[in-house]
Amino acid sequence: MKFFTDREICYADILPPSEVRARIEVAVLNFLKILTCADPAISDLLLINRKSSNRRVSQGLLTEDDTWIFLSRSFCKRSLMRANAAKAFIRVWKVMEMCFKILLQEKRVTQRELFYKLLCVSPDCFSSQLQVNRTIQDVVSLLRCSRFSLGIMASSRGIVAGRLLVQEPDKEMVDCSECGSSGYAISGDLNLLDRLVMKTDARYIIIVEKHAIFQRLAEDRVFNHIPIILITARGYPDIATRFLLHRMSRTFPELPIMALVDWNPAGLAILCTFKFGSIGMGLEAYRYACNVKWLGLRGDDLQLIPEESFVSLKPRDLQIAKSLMSSETLQEKHREELALMVQSGKRAEIEALYFHGYDYLGKYIAKKIVQANYI
């Protein structure tokens, strides 16, 4: 039950191409009207502020598990009239123009492809992928429509393995346990993901932070010993992986979702992104929050790891830790774990468990699940 927070939410609507084009056309018309009126001006672009100051948290009243973050109605401007920031203003228009053309052609592109296209057409305006990604988020904030609606496909790095059967529309059923260590690749096409038919006899879903760990577990066919589905984004969670995870949680609500991450602030950050969403993609992020629990590595596993495997925390780790600490969404138990990390000044990777043998990982997971040792 959420009441007042709903009024404050800013949504990015999922729209069909024709509607997005219509919104862009309205933007052009408004711009021209203001440019050619009696008191002409060059209109500013009003974007929803994607900063922590505009971040709001929706706490579920009934359970603390149903928490997610969203962006509220705080705005910032991009203006041509500020000489130092004029280029950012131009970039928004360039991306809008490119997306408009893509939608007309009824195509979809990845962010990477968009970057190269923009580099060809306007080399002076764009210098890096990160800049393009940020500008795309500007357009999302301006037009209030999802990135996918703009014709931009998430290039997914996500893969799934284990006790799951998926069927793409008009295609054959795929058994994710027979896909080998490379697993089933998650498409960047959210439409397609939305129409996947899924069946499972698993009892748990495990998010794995790293590709290498995922591969090891898939190769060892861990899911034959314990009824699990393995999913990874191979690092920082991308929207397609989160989308699929969210769908799975809705389709199989009785399956608890657990995360297997390194013992360092970045690992916890990845868990939190799956759990709450991020403000970077704040306008869409709120939709795909899932209830994720922390399986490992945790403080009580440290005794399993040899001393040599511990490495000092780097400044970047401490920065992430600080930022996580200041977030009001962080659960008490997670907060304690984080504090322990910072206090010890050390970090360790999941691979450290191989000290006990390559098949140890599967046993470790099984033991923890059976003991319900997750927070």
Binding site: I42, K51, F75, A154
Partner: protein
């Protein structure tokens, strides 16, 4: 007023005559007759047909240095009459004594006018000076005064050497021979055409317009500004007029000076060319040149005030003239107020900007304008790639474009032109006022919610954001 040389005394008397003629607003003549009785004695007569003199302009002179050095005996013989007077008054002024109260003014018998209506003044004096020196000074002075371009005054210079028979020589100076304006032309309009003429002839170094540089008159961009003091202020009735000219020079012209990075500021006070005071230099250095895209590197006092620019385009030359004068006669001895100078110069620069779009753009405007082509291309691209004819139609009608058959370039150019004109319009507004541009989607502005007028800073993400 301090007189430092005999020549300066003559020039002062001529400029007083000039002033009186300008105030009369009728056609007037000034005659300066120089007769050398011997190699070092000059008899000078300066006569004019302007309004009558009130003698104050002679009585306040401080000529102690030249009297002491025996260049002048301190005596002025003045005949003057105003249009409403019945007589021509005759005076002798003895300015020998230092203290003005002990100076003597002797009134001599006057001549009746017999009902005729005229006005004018004649001043006689004898000084110890070489005729050639004085003639050269007077010529130089007259050339400078031509910049004021007062249409109603003709100046005649007559020289005669008594020891050389037949040596009488007459020289006439007329305002703006090529383009005489009507007598009613305002001072500032005269000043404009005077400075134009000066610039076209490369500052008095040529007698005719330079055809290498100025084959067409479009090479000159002229702006003018006026400021006047309020009536109730103690320096009431002060006018400050400024004309600024930007010209493009040809490098192959023999007169092409490399000093296009310098501006010599010509200064006139009460219709007399004079050097700039220190306070003028100070004021000029406080003007916000940056908002006109100019960088002032240095203000130099070389007798004349010279503004040295950094970063100016190499073929562009800036010329400037300032004229401060009292609207009424007789005038009070006051310094031109600094704020008047600043106001008038700024008005002249703004006038230039308004009448010649594209010049004197501030650095800020130039930077923003560089983005205009990109923005125009994007908007044009959006319009032309749409498959909705109603949308396109509305866009074209907003832009004032008739045919839909126009190419992409035409649409782009039209949009770019409008964007640039908005940028220039904003550039002309005073800096302090914040130009608040409307936003693209009006319904977003919930003014009661936390509307932050902040610039969105890049690089402030909570997490590394990769997808």
């Amino acid at each position: 007023m301090e007189i430092s040389s005999a020549s300066n005394l003559c020039l002062h008397l001529i400029s007083c005559a000039f002033r009186r003629c300008r105030l009369s607003q009728q056609l007037c003549r000034i005659s300066a007759v120089l007769k050398s009785l011997s190699p070092s004695i000059l008899q000078i007569s300066i006569s004019d047909t302007g309004i009558g003199s009130c003698l104050e302009e002679f009585q306040d002179l401080n000529c102690s240095s030249i009297i002491a050095a025996e260049f002048w005996d301190g005596i002025l013989s003045v005949k003057t009459t105003a249009i409403c007077d019945d007589e021509i008054y005759h005076y002798h002024l003895n300015l020998m004594k230092n203290i003005s109260s002990s100076r003597t003014l002797t009134r001599l018998p006057s001549n009746p006018k017999n009902g005729l209506k005229f006005s004018g003044t004649e001043v006689y004096l004898s000084i110890s000076e070489s005729i050639d020196v004085l003639v050269s000074e007077i010529n130089h002075f007259f050339q400078k005064i031509m910049i004021l371009n007062i249409p109603n005054i003709a100046i005649e210079l007559v020289t005669e050497r008594e020891d050389i028979p037949g040596s009488r020589c007459e020289n006439v100076f007329l305002a703006n021979k090529s383009n005489p304006g009507p007598l009613s032309t305002s001072n500032v309009e005269c000043l404009k055409s005077g400075l134009e003429d000066y610039v076209l002839r490369h500052g008095n170094s040529l007698t005719q317009k330079c055809n290498t540089c100025f084959a067409t008159s479009e090479r000159l961009k002229v702006g003018s500004g006026i400021a006047c003091s309020t009536e109730n202020h103690k320096s009431s009735g002060l006018m400050m007029e400024v004309v600024v000219i930007i010209s493009e020079l040809e490098s192959k012209c023999p007169c092409f000076r490399e000093c296009s990075s310098k501006t010599e500021v010509l200064y006139f006070k009460d219709f007399t060319p004079c050097s700039n005071s220190h306070s003028t230099l100070n004021v000029l250095s406080t003007i916000d040149w940056q908002s006109y895209g100019l960088t002032l590197e240095n203000v130099v006092d070389q007798g004349v005030c010279v503004l040295e620019w950094g970063d100016s385009p190499s073929h562009s030359q800036i010329d400037m003239v300032l004229h401060c004068y009292h609207k009424q006669y007789p005038m009070h001895k006051t310094q031109p107020e600094q704020h008047l100078i600043k106001k008038a110069v700024t008005a002249a620069l703004n006038n230039l900007k308004e009448t010649h779009p594209g010049i004197l753009r501030s650095a800020h405007a130039l930077k923003i304008c560089s983005h205009a082509p990109d923005l125009a291309r994007s908007i044009a691209g959006l319009i032309l790639s749409s498959n909705d004819p109603d949308f396109q139609g509305e866009c074209f009608s907003l832009l004032g474009l008739e045919s839909r058959e126009l190419g992409a370039n035409a649409v782009e150019d039209c949009i770019q032109e409008k964007i640039v004109s908005v940028i220039e319009m904003n550039d002309r507004k005073p800096r302090q006022r914040n130009v608040v541009a409307p936003s693209l989607f009006e319904d977003d502005c919930d003014q009661d919610s936390s509307y932050q007028d902040k610039e969105y800073e890049e690089g402030e993400d909570e997490f590394i954001y990769l997808d």
